[in-house]
């Protein structure tokens, strides 16, 4: 057992991920008291009913008071506003983090409002499901998953110690931890997560708008590949809206490359260039094999700590 790392944990925005952090932290025994705030009164009532928090606060300022670790688990664009709102109430020496899918925007927001007596360390556990809401969370969510931390450019020993402690926190929740530059994070996730979501949302939209093929037929024969896209395209609309807006440049860059490649593929089909198709389809198989070899297919716990600049 790691023991208690933070006497009081405050979670601001408590849906799928926020509630999973609390459940996992409770199980790992790394936090003492837990207080929670969510902007939705319905979610607050649900959290109180579920009983995984000690306090369900009526405003975020009250929630963060005396907290040693504050985690913002709200949609990316709401994090800046929420951080600004509570900044004055943060306990000196506390660590401020988040779980958002975009890091540069959060890092900038934190840099603006979190006082230097606190330690702002943006974070992103790569985990989730197409479910949302506090009732959908579960304590095993982070087992064997990567959590990326993107620390700020601070060189003081106290900050390094805070990063070390937050790393221990995520390790205790079952994650592997990687340290990364925030802009690089946003580029990597643009291709491994944001672009796949954008494409899935798009194809489901395209299918819904067809006239020649009915929605009933799309649903009935979805087992041929489409169904996998609908799962991804059922993810939280507000969160994903914010992701695309907050990581606009990297998403548009990756989307541009994807579209170019798709046009080349379209041309190869139109001109009957079977060799080109077969070459690509053979090459993409290798990536799948690498994923299986790397053990990233199964979510089996594979504890460890990786560092990178």
């Amino acid at each position: 057992m790691t023991g208690v790392l933070y006497q009081k944990l405050a979670v601001i925005g408590c849906g799928l991920i926020g509630s999973s952090v609390i459940r996992a932290a409770r199980t790992a025994g790394v936090v003492g008291e837990v207080s929670v705030y969510d902007a939705s009164p319905a979610a607050r009532a649900k959290i109180a009913e579920l009983g995984f928090a000690d306090t369900v606060a009526d405003d975020p300022v009250q929630a963060v008071e005396g907290a040693d670790l504050v985690i913002f688990a709200a949609p990316p664009l709401a994090i800046g506003t929420a951080a600004e709102q509570v900044a004055g109430a943060l306990k000196p020496g506390c660590t401020v983090s988040d779980v958002g899918s975009v890091k540069a925007a959060v890092s900038e927001a934190f840099a603006k409002v979190v006082p230097p007596t606190c330690f702002a360390i943006p974070g992103h556990p790569i985990a989730g499901s197409e479910q949302s809401g506090p009732e959908a969370g579960f304590g095993e969510m982070f087992q064997g998953r990567w959590c990326i931390l993107t620390p700020q450019a601070r060189t003081d020993a106290a900050y390094a110690e805070a990063v070390e402690r937050l790393t221990d926190f995520w390790l205790a929740l079952g994650s592997q931890v990687e340290i990364m530059d925030d802009k690089h994070h946003d580029l990597v996730l643009a291709v491994t997560s944001h672009l796949p979501h954008l494409i899935a949302y798009n194809i489901v939209g395209t299918a819904a708008d067809l006239e020649e093929v009915t929605r009933g037929e799309v649903i009935k024969y979805s087992a041929g590949g489409f169904r996998d896209f609908t799962r991804i395209a059922a993810s939280d609309p507000i969160m994903w809206r914010d992701v695309f807006l907050a990581n606009k440049d990297a998403v548009l860059e990756m989307l541009g490359r994807f579209t170019e490649d798709l046009q080349a593929l379209s041309r190869a089909i139109r001109w009957g260039e079977g060799d080109k198709l077969q070459e690509l389809f053979t090459r993409t198989r290798d990536i799948r094999r690498s994923i299986i070899t790397a053990g990233q297919e199964s979510a089996e716990p594979n504890f460890g700590r990786n560092r990178k600049g």
Copy 2:
């Protein structure tokens, strides 16, 4: 038990699907003898070793001799050639079918070479996996899945009876059977299967070609959505090359719509139009709910027979 429907089954092209048909037909007890031909000597040796066929023939003509049901389970573009090769050896009164993902092209090929004394009935069980080869097949593959038959424009009673018998065959293998026009099939599958595969192949190719993000990073952080695409993009390269070439018009039509929609989405991101994004992302959730409600998410057996013109 249905009892034996076809005394002798011949399967031409015996990979993932062909071998699954044989295993499922054996389990259901609907065939007597089974003979097999595959163009690959290695596959033939493997099939002989696995022992699920009575005869592994060295040429397709030998395999179809005396067969009451001939199923072509080769890649779409190979079916026409194979059918032409064996046409003269087909037993009068036998049923000729296939399992290809494209139906109009197969229907045309059958119309050209299958003698009118036989019953050509193209078919498509919507089932599979990213595995390939005779060793990857399994007898439960068609349980609860749809099998679409696209009969030719023949009105004689004997043909209707042959369609009825082939329907019983697929029902016995655990499928639900739907009768459909071949061109409509190709349009429906273009959106529910062919376009999803094309897009999955494309994004995996795009990711593999990046310089700023390493392949190692793509693999490591693939849990954010990308991984689901790699599974689809690991499907059999030759089969899928043939699908896109054989269903060119419908695929390019659907791809055109997809690309238009994607450009509109790209524009909405560039101009920060959050409302448009949120509206689409909310709409796509409904389709997922319909799929879950329709029970198309779990592959639970749901026997039945549906007819449509």
